[in-house]
Symmetry: C2
Subunit: 325 residues, 2 copies
């Protein structure tokens, strides 16, 4: 089985490569080769029993997509995207990377005639726009309120149509917000959901720009990688003609996040969270989904963490070697 990961330099792409290298197989089939692709250099390749190639290239050029499909992947994970804030700030770049990149890839697969090629695409809960019900069900309409969400919703439609036509075996996974995100604090509006846990656990202060009552939808990086692998093993046909799937997550408030951190790491951690209200972030976050009823994904066997304590423990195990300062 030949596996290509597009967006391999990103946090999820790298974790996915590590997991596949570690397991050496997927869905009972041995992995024979891996291609890691990104517009920037990916991290050093993982130790693996199979060949790992690393390419740098821009998928938003049609040639690059053809070259990638010419590598003859049996399975493609397309995780490449520019984030919501950047897609809003740079309209043309957003459409070029987040829409045209995936369309070129679909076209390259179609034109290759390799119709059994699997494509696992990371969509987003940003395909949904307010007003929302208490919990967003599997049949809620996709009415995005950002260009990023629009681009993801369009990719879902394309993947569904190309799959229905038999040109590819695709699926689009609507990921929860990944939390606790490792690495440095970033300026994404959603960054604080991770910052307020990751930084105090490392002994550093973190800024909380919204009220403690703000509710959001989370899953750990480990769960997110698990979704990708499980979806690939399941195959797109199990989704029939609706190839976009809302994945399970944990709906919890900032207050619940902080209470979990206090249980896991004591008040010396929670005392490091400084409340500095930011009206801009508060307004952006107020338009985000807070809770889902991911019944379809659950019935297909997907599951995420059920408490924020678990999410914190995953972070401590996977990022901090089991220790907190």
């Amino acid at each position: 089985m030949r596996i290509a990961i597009i967006g391999a330099a990103g946090m999820l792409g790298h974790k996915l490569a590590l997991r596949l290298a570690n397991e050496g197989m997927l869905a009972g089939k041995a992995i024979s080769a891996m291609l890691r692709h990104d517009v920037v250099l990916s991290p050093p390749p993982p130790q693996a029993a199979f060949d790992v190639e690393t390419h740098i290239g821009d998928l938003s050029s049609a040639d690059e997509a053809s070259k990638l499909v010419g590598w003859k992947p049996d399975l493609i994970f397309n995780l490449a995207a520019i984030v919501s804030g950047e897609a809003e700030a740079d309209f043309e770049k957003g459409y070029r990377i987040n829409l045209d990149g995936t369309r070129h890839l679909l076209e390259a697969v179609r034109l290759s005639g390799r119709s059994s090629t699997q494509l696992v695409f990371t969509s987003s809960i940003a395909v949904f726009g307010a007003p929302f019900p208490t919990a967003i069900g599997d049949e809620f309409l996709t009415a995005p309120l950002t260009s990023y969400g629009t681009q993801k919703a369009i990719c879902e439609l394309l993947i569904t149509d190309y799959s229905r036509r038999g040109f590819v075996d695709g699926m689009a996974l609507r990921m929860p917000t990944v939390c606790v995100r490792p690495g440095k604090p970033n300026k994404a509006a959603s960054g604080f959901f991770s910052n307020i846990i990751r930084e105090p656990l490392a002994g550093h202060e973190a800024i909380l720009p919204v009220e403690d009552a703000v509710r959001h939808w989370h899953a750990s990086p480990r769960a997110a990688v698990g979704f990708l692998v499980q979806a690939a093993a399941m195959g797109g046909a199990s989704l029939g003609n609706r190839r976009a799937l809302t994945l399970p997550g944990l709906s919890c408030t900032v207050a619940e996040q902080l209470a979990a951190m206090e249980r896991v790491a004591g008040s010396k951690a929670t005392r490091l969270v400084k409340r500095v209200p930011d009206e801009t972030i508060r307004r952006i976050v107020s338009g985000w989904p807070q809770n889902f009823d991911a019944a379809r994904a659950k019935s297909l066997g997907f599951s995420a963490e059920s408490t924020f304590d678990e999410i914190i423990k995953v972070h401590i195990e996977d990022e901090l070697g089991g220790n907190i300062s």
Copy 2:
């Protein structure tokens, strides 16, 4: 007010041009010029108090879209599309005409900086896919089961995002099936809904390929043109951030269509309908929407015919000079 009609050679495009020529104004503003655009030659221009230009060109080339926007329309009706059957038979042509054409147009308007340009786009109930509720509401998900429906759903998303960003003032109108369609019988799977009325009223036989119990969603050509004009007069801002609107129609069965024809034209008309079951058409039609709750459009003041008798009378008035044979 300068008005461009793309798809002006089509049935709706031509009727729209006639109505605008006849009224000379829209939303209280005098029409100063009209550009009729299509990939084939449009019918002879209507008598009008303003200049009517007629262009032949292919909007699926980006240059053509720029040229059209260079004409400086204040309002663009984009009715151009290849139909469902052709978009399914010719995958590349469908995406080129039905998706890229509209995207080029949106890009040309964005790059022109003429952000007050109004765009009224004809979407379709094909954006919806089974399974359906008894009546499809305004918040039902867009999960199309055809490439045509996929292309229309993507255009809805693009128009909504370009409008939200302030690049254009767009709206996407989900038209009911237009019935009674004038002209010759065509091979579209939906053609029989019109054939079984139009042909008998002209003294000719017509084939009914499905059961009398089949239910569908109709509006007259006059109502459809009325929707276009009314939507343009209203402007896209009245739709807020959800720029796709399901329009009202009449949900009725083939049996109800035929009963109405018998009331209007007697049994000499209904006797001309020959039942010749066609398994292919029966299967296609079984996946189509049957009924909607177009509450949002109604609350905005849109209305369609409320009985099929009215739809037949409109046909007799508009196409047969008030007489039936």
